[in-house]
């Protein structure tokens, strides 16, 4: 993984000192809250319902064991013993005191971490495939380019006060696990005639006005990608709407200009760049950054592990976990393991200090010191030998981390909702937990197969409800919480937005309605190989909608 050199370390140390000064000026009253707000936001500090919330950057979702242990320490010493992993592959702490934040940042800087640009109207943490560098189906490792983008976008002086937040995602696999078509900019790494480059998608997004991104350029060579991004950003910074925050994302600019005119403006700005303006990232620097992401040295192993097969035969629960929570690795005899943060009864994405420490230990002992956070709010051990899975599972299971539900119905993406967030209209965690209860039987859940449920507590869509196979959106009607159900969304390479079906439901009606839809699917599927989303596409939404509202 990337390691700071003297320059990175200095920038982060200087950031801590700067923010310490800003907090002191705020606490003394020299800075007004209005003036402090964009400063604290660009350092991940939100004012939430109950307290300040601190969001810490986990660039492209990668952590070392040392870093994860430090997060555990922060959870224990400054929060209430847990942290919440987010859909931007970051972590947030909900109960940190403002006066303590500079000290927390200093502790994070010691392990090469920061909270820079995790919020505010700037370029946020670049996200990627959580199996990057390990997945069998990737063309190459996208992380070096995420790091290059991280550095370029950090304190970019021109793009420090954008119309609105800006999110970039990168994938290098045909099967898109980074949801690039619902990002402000989505990059798909390709190779053409031996040259690495990027397909550039712009203007996707969720929120109040969900939009699938437009393909703006089918191939920008790697040597030009930062210059091209500068053109994309400059057009947005100059012409994105600033009169209404709900119309300020780049997707609205693309929609209002029309795809053709938007593309023309970007190409015109790009063509206007003069040679002396080019970033001209050196080949040495590209190579230097790639060297940090060299694959781990994995001992050669047979594709089938006898040890694993024996353990599976002896323990059906373990066998199920290996069927559900493993992802194919490039190297035979290895797999990427999903550590589920979605057990029954726990807020999705939450992990305690001791759970974080356990995962750090396992990564060190069995996982080449590599840990990822997925945008689905789970943790990943990307490089694990099949031989070691019995020990890993036993340790995880004992700590409540052994749930076999990766990409299954109880592996929901859920925003914090009205329990924490001052934007929310409705609670999202309790309703997700109630739905989960109906699918608590692991055999039943495995039989249902791949099914994504995404839950948001308001139309800002932090829980990605537009792109869940089933989306649940909390709304407020005259002081009462209601939940609208969406069907047919997906965030992958076939990205689509879900449609709202019929009137909203009361919280207590939601689990039963979801259960009826799932049972309808099970009755209608051609075989267990036909996934929920495929049956839905084959039959159309109407019969599913009828099932949803059918009286018990």
């Amino acid at each position: 993984m990337y390691r700071y050199d003297q320059f990175d370390a200095r920038i982060v140390a200087e950031r801590v000192a700067q923010f310490r000064g800003q907090v002191a000026r705020r606490l003394s009253g020299e800075l007004l809250e209005d003036e402090f707000k964009p400063l604290r936001l660009q350092n991940g500090v939100y004012l939430q319902l109950h307290a300040y919330m601190l969001r810490i950057a986990i660039p492209y979702g990668q952590l070392s064991p040392v870093q994860l242990r430090r997060l555990a320490e922060v959870a224990r010493d400054y929060d209430r013993g847990f942290g919440h992993f987010t859909t931007r592959q970051n972590i947030q702490f909900n109960w940190v005191a403002l006066k303590d934040i500079p000290d927390v940042l200093e502790k994070l800087a010691e392990v090469e971490m920061h909270a820079i640009q995790t919020s505010g109207n700037c370029i946020r943490n670049t996200t990627t495939d959580h199996f990057a560098g390990a997945a069998q189906d990737e063309l190459l490792d996208p992380r070096p380019w995420c790091e290059i983008i991280r550095q370029w976008s950090t304190f970019h002086p021109e793009f420090a006060a954008l119309p609105r937040k800006f999110k970039i995602a990168v994938t290098a696999a045909e099967h898109d696990r980074a949801a690039i078509r619902v990002h402000d900019v989505g990059l798909h790494i390709l190779q053409k005639n031996g040259v690495t480059g990027f397909e550039v998608w712009v203007g996707g997004g969720q929120g109040r006005t969900p939009v699938i991104a437009t393909l703006v350029n089918p191939f920008v060579p790697e040597s030009e990608i930062l210059d091209y991004l500068e053109a994309v950003m400059r057009v947005y910074n100059r012409y994105g709407r600033r009169d209404n925050k709900y119309k300020a994302r780049i997707k609205i600019l693309v929609t209002e200009l029309g795809e053709a005119e938007y593309i023309r403006q970007v190409e015109e700005e790009y063509a206007a760049q003069r040679p002396h303006e080019k970033i001209a990232l050196t080949a040495d620097e590209i190579a230097r950054i790639h060297a940090y992401f060299a694959p781990p040295k994995l001992a050669a192993k047979p594709a089938v592990s006898e040890r694993l097969e024996a353990a599976k035969a002896a323990d059906p629960a373990f066998a199920r976990w290996t069927r559900v929570n493993l992802h194919p690795h490039k190297a035979p005899g290895y797999a990427s393991v999903t550590v589920s943060l979605k057990p029954q009864g726990v807020a999705p994405g939450d992990a305690t200090d001791t759970q974080m420490e356990l995962v750090a230990d396992l990564a060190e002992k069995y996982g080449h010191g590599d840990i990822r956070v997925s945008h689905a709010q789970n943790l990943i051990l990307p490089h694990v030998a099949l031989d070691d899975l019995p020990e890993i599972y036993a340790a995880l299971d004992a700590a409540g981390l052994g749930t076999a539900n990766e990409s299954r119905i109880t592996d929901m993406i859920v925003c914090p909702g009205l329990d924490y967030c001052n934007l929310a209209n409705a609670r999202s965690i309790p309703v997700s937990l109630e739905v989960s209860k109906l699918f608590a039987d692991p055999a039943y859940e495995e039989d249902i197969g791949r099914l994504h449920i995404n839950v948001s507590g308001c139309i800002n869509a932090c829980g990605h409800h537009h792109v869940g196979h089933i989306g649940i959106l909390g709304v407020d009607k005259k002081g009462e919480e209601f939940y609208q159900i969406l069907l047919g969304g997906r965030a992958d390479e076939k990205a689509a937005l879900g449609n709202i079906v019929g009137p909203g439901l009361k919280a207590e009606e939601v689990p039963g309605a979801i259960h009826r839809v799932v049972e309808f699917y099970r009755a209608q599927r051609t075989s267990r190989d036909e996934k929920f989303i495929d049956t839905l596409e084959r039959l159309g939404h109407q019969p599913f909608q009828e099932a949803l509202y059918a009286a018990d």
Binding site: D5, F7, W152, A161, L162, R242, T282, D284
Partner: protein, 160 residues
């Protein structure tokens, strides 16, 4: 409001003449971009200013033919959260290589000054920050990651 340039607080010799106000016969003054273009193109008669004030929605490109004649360009930040002025500055300094004074005016706060400096500004009419705060803000970072309109060498070039 303090005016700070090149590490010193200086007296403001310039006057901004709003649209509709009479142009002075003597002294240094600036006008809006629209009025400047009208004067240059003969739609309005009067003394030619050698200063222009850009609003966020203006097209800085329109000034390109006249940059050699201007000794002051002011960029107005009516709200400090409106970052369009940073793009104006980058275009003027980096693309067109304007070398006169580039002054940030309006809602200019201490914590924007580092970004302004990197975008090409060399003068700041601040709301409250005095000389010591501006100097402090300019020195908060000793390393930058990307080229911009200031002479700072980005980390990737210092590494090789």
């Amino acid at each position: 409001m303090p005016l700070i340039k090149n590490g010193a607080e200086i007296a403001n010799e310039w006057t901004f003449v709003a649209n509709g106000e009479a142009l002075p016969e003597t002294g240094k003054f600036s006008v809006s971009l629209g009025r400047f273009l009208a004067l240059k193109q003969g739609q309005e008669n009067g003394p030619l200013p050698d200063g222009v004030r850009l609003a966020p929605a203006d097209k800085a490109e329109d000034l390109e033919p006249y940059l050699g004649e201007l000794s002051l360009i002011e960029v107005d930040f009516p709200r400090y959260t409106d970052g369009r002025g940073y793009s104006h500055a980058q275009l003027l300094r980096r693309r067109y290589q304007y070398d006169g004074e580039l002054r940030a005016v309006g809602h200019v706060l201490r914590d924007q000054i580092f970004y302004m400096h990197r975008s090409g500004f060399d003068a700041y009419e601040t709301r409250r920050a005095g000389l010591s705060e501006v100097v402090e803000a300019l020195n908060e970072y000793s390393v930058v990651y990307q080229p911009a309109a200031d002479p700072s060498v980005p980390a990737f070039r210092r590494r090789s």
